[in-house]
Every structure is written in structure tokens, then in C-alpha cells.
């Protein structure tokens, strides 16, 4: 598979089937919602849902917007392998929240395209009390980026 194709998948350049009609070439808006440790949120998730989402002081259902200032890119590792990758360009922060019920996952989803799911990331179970919850992104590289499409 051509590595450039993988990064072009991330920018909706190719369409093998029925897809939303895009009125603009601008990047979509992505959001990050937090989910309770008791919630079922995993690779089978297809879209954002408020079921199992955290609730609490200063937390808005649907979560917060993800900063997306860096377009997807791709790098060839060899003639047969490569990686396309993307990472939010800033940390995701929930400020001055109280989230009393334990949560352990964040769903990244596309709020422009019917809230369709992108990825789920889990971490140790947490609660927040009148404080901040910050998710810092890994480095945006072929081996550590938050989202990677790879041929091996």
C-alpha cells in the first residue's frame, strides 16, 4: 500500500463508497469526551454518545474541542512500509472540574461529521476535585503519534 494513500485517508482525499458531501475543504472539528470506568467504550464504538460519559461541575456533555493545527503526514520506512500519522497539536484540558465518579477513557470523535468516533484512549482510573484534568499528547512521530496508520 502506498504510504501517501494512508495519510490521504486521514484527509478524506479518497472515497471508495458513499460519503458525506463536503461543502468546504477545511479540517473537521474534533472533540474529546471522557467516559466512566464503568462505561463500555472501545474499538466497537462508532460515534459519540452521552451514555457512560462523565458528568460533573464545569464539564460540558460532549467534552472539549481538540486543537488541530498540524495536518496528517506520512513517512516511508522502506519500499514496502510506511506510516501516516496525526496527533492533536495541544494538550486536552478540562479546567476546574469536579468529576467524582471514576473515569478511565477519552473518546476522540468528529463533531463535524455526525460525531463519528475516531479513537479511544484509556488510562488509569481517575477522579477530579475542583481541579484540572490534562491529557498531554505523545510526540507526533511515526512511532508515537496518537493516530497511526502503518504498513509493516
Amino acid at each position: 500500500m502506498c504510504t501517501s494513500f494512508m495519510s490521504e485517508l486521514m484527509t478524506a482525499t479518497h472515497n471508495f463508497g458513499t460519503a458525506p458531501t463536503r461543502g468546504t475543504s477545511a479540517a473537521d472539528t474534533f472533540k474529546a469526551a471522557l467516559y466512566l470506568a464503568s462505561a463500555t467504550i472501545n474499538a466497537s464504538t462508532t460515534a459519540y454518545s452521552s451514555t457512560g460519559e462523565v458528568t460533573g461541575t464545569n464539564y460540558t456533555a460532549g467534552g472539549v474541542s481538540v486543537t488541530n493545527a498540524t495536518a496528517p503526514t506520512s513517512t516511508n520506512a522502506s519500499a514496502t512500509a510506511g506510516t501516516a500519522y496525526w496527533t492533536p497539536s495541544a494538550s486536552i484540558t478540562y479546567t476546574n472540574v469536579t468529576l467524582s465518579t471514576a473515569f478511565d477513557a477519552v473518546l476522540i470523535y468528529n463533531s463535524t461529521q455526525s460525531n463519528k468516533a475516531v479513537s479511544v484512549h484509556t488510562f488509569g482510573s481517575q477522579t477530579i476535585t475542583s481541579g484540572n484534568f490534562t491529557l498531554t499528547m505523545p510526540s507526533n512521530t511515526t512511532s508515537t503519534a496518537l493516530l497511526r496508520l502503518a504498513t509493516t
Partner: protein, 63 residues
């Protein structure tokens, strides 16, 4: 000043507790402030390590 469940409080009035979790998935730090045995502030900073990887087989070949 620390934002707490009782409003902003001087840090000197609070007991501070901190912790770290470091594993393959995350590097997490947390800080708690306690006042007279009550948790009044807890913040957490998670640095994600584990990326979502979608791998596909190597370049297709014809036999």
C-alpha cells in the same frame, strides 16, 4: 492560592499529597490538597504513551 471545594485557599493551610504512575500506557502525575481531613482539590495530568495503531500487511504482491 489553590482552588478548592471551599473556594480559593492559601496553600499553607492545606496538606499536599502527590503521586506518579508510570507504565507502558501513560505517565501520570496527580496532586491532592486536603483540609482538616477532607479532600478539597485533586488535579491529574496524564501523558499518553500508547498510540492507536492501525496496521496493514506489507505491500501487496502478485504471485
Amino acid at each position: 492560592m489553590i482552588n478548592t471545594t471551599k473556594g480559593e485557599m492559601d496553600e499553607s493551610l492545606l496538606e499536599k499529597r502527590e503521586g506518579v504512575v508510570d507504565n507502558d500506557h501513560e505517565y501520570t502525575t496527580w496532586v491532592e490538597y486536603w483540609h482538616e481531613g477532607e479532600l478539597v482539590h485533586r488535579s491529574v495530568h496524564v501523558t499518553l504513551k500508547q498510540a492507536a495503531v492501525f496496521s496493514v500487511p506489507e505491500l501487496a504482491t502478485f504471485g
